[in-house]
Amino acid sequence: MSASLMIGQEHYLIVSAILFCLGLTGILLRRNMIVMLMSIELMLNAVNLSFVTFSYFQQNLEGQVIVLFVMAIAAAEASIGLALAVMLFKKFKELNISFFEHLRG
């Protein structure tokens, strides 16, 4: 097996970059608040993938520890965001962000 055929660091990093850009597209283009939260999760996962990639290719475990922290914070962020979404739905009967132009209390 030649060395050029091996899966290197770049392959994983490019998958991570593609995922991050897809999440960014979702944030920018979609209007449903829940789908935007899902896109944020996608971006966080892309970053986790690059952390684990560096951790593996540099034989350094600290990347995996950081990934654990990121996962906990992402779960907390998702719960807060969904609670806010439920609140907004109770108030506006709508989750499309183009209807949230009057957010004054």
Binding site: A3, M6, I7, Q9, E10, H11, Y12, L13, I14, V15, I18, L19, F20, C21, L22, G23, L24, T25, G26, L28, L29, R30, R31, N32, I34, V35, L37, E41, L42, N45, N48, L49, V52, S55, Y56, F57, Q58, L61, E62, Q64, V65, V67, F69, M71, I73, A74, A75, A76, A78, S79, I80, L82, A83, A85, M87, F89, K93, L95, S98, G105
Partner: protein
């Protein structure tokens, strides 16, 4: 050889389902695609010899977080979703341009950075013990802060759901 095939398979599944998350018009289908994408990323973690992180990924993301999303969608009427993509052609053009520029920036950084291409000698899976040792010695302060944050978050959510009206009325 099996590793290469597995990598390309997992990468294709992850990326295609991520496209499904962004492009699907039904938020419930988006959530289901997101589960598949998370599972693909967990498979990539296993391939990177990080089985503990992969297992946590499956449990926390594909399990807990996605159940939370689907549960909230049950509470919310998602049948009508007109105007699912934002506004006019001009703004869409600028958004596409932004993403394109950012993607080009990332790829050029990745491709221009000299990566160490040498294949590692000892490629055995990381043990949970090693992660735990690092977590409870060097990062113990961050770990405790994370515990405090996880205590504050439920309190905040309960406080949030008990607010009636806007910020100006009690």
């Amino acid at each position: 050889m099996a590793e290469i095939i597995l990598f390309y398979f997992l990468a294709a599944v992850t990326v295609l389902t991520a496209v499904g998350v962004v492009m699907n018009e039904n938020p419930l289908m988006s959530a289901l695609y997101l589960v598949l994408s998370m599972l693909g990323i967990a498979g990539l973690f296993f391939l990177l010899q990080a089985p503990f992180i992969g297992a946590v990924q499956i449990m926390v993301y594909a399990g807990a977080v996605m159940v939370l999303f689907v549960l909230v969608m049950m509470l919310i009427d998602i049948n009508k979703d007109e105007e699912k993509f934002s506004g006019g052609n001009i703004s869409a053009l600028f958004k596409g341009l932004t993403v394109g520029v950012f993607a080009g920036l990332l790829t050029s950084i990745i491709l221009r950075t000299p990566m160490s291409t040498k294949i590692l000698v000892a490629q055995q899976a990381t043990e949970v013990v090693d992660i735990a040792r690092l977590l409870f010695t060097k990062y113990v302060l961050a770990f405790e802060l994370l515990g405090i944050m996880l205590l504050v978050i439920p309190v905040g959510i309960v406080a949030l759901t008990r607010i009636r009206g806007g910020t100006h009325e009690r």
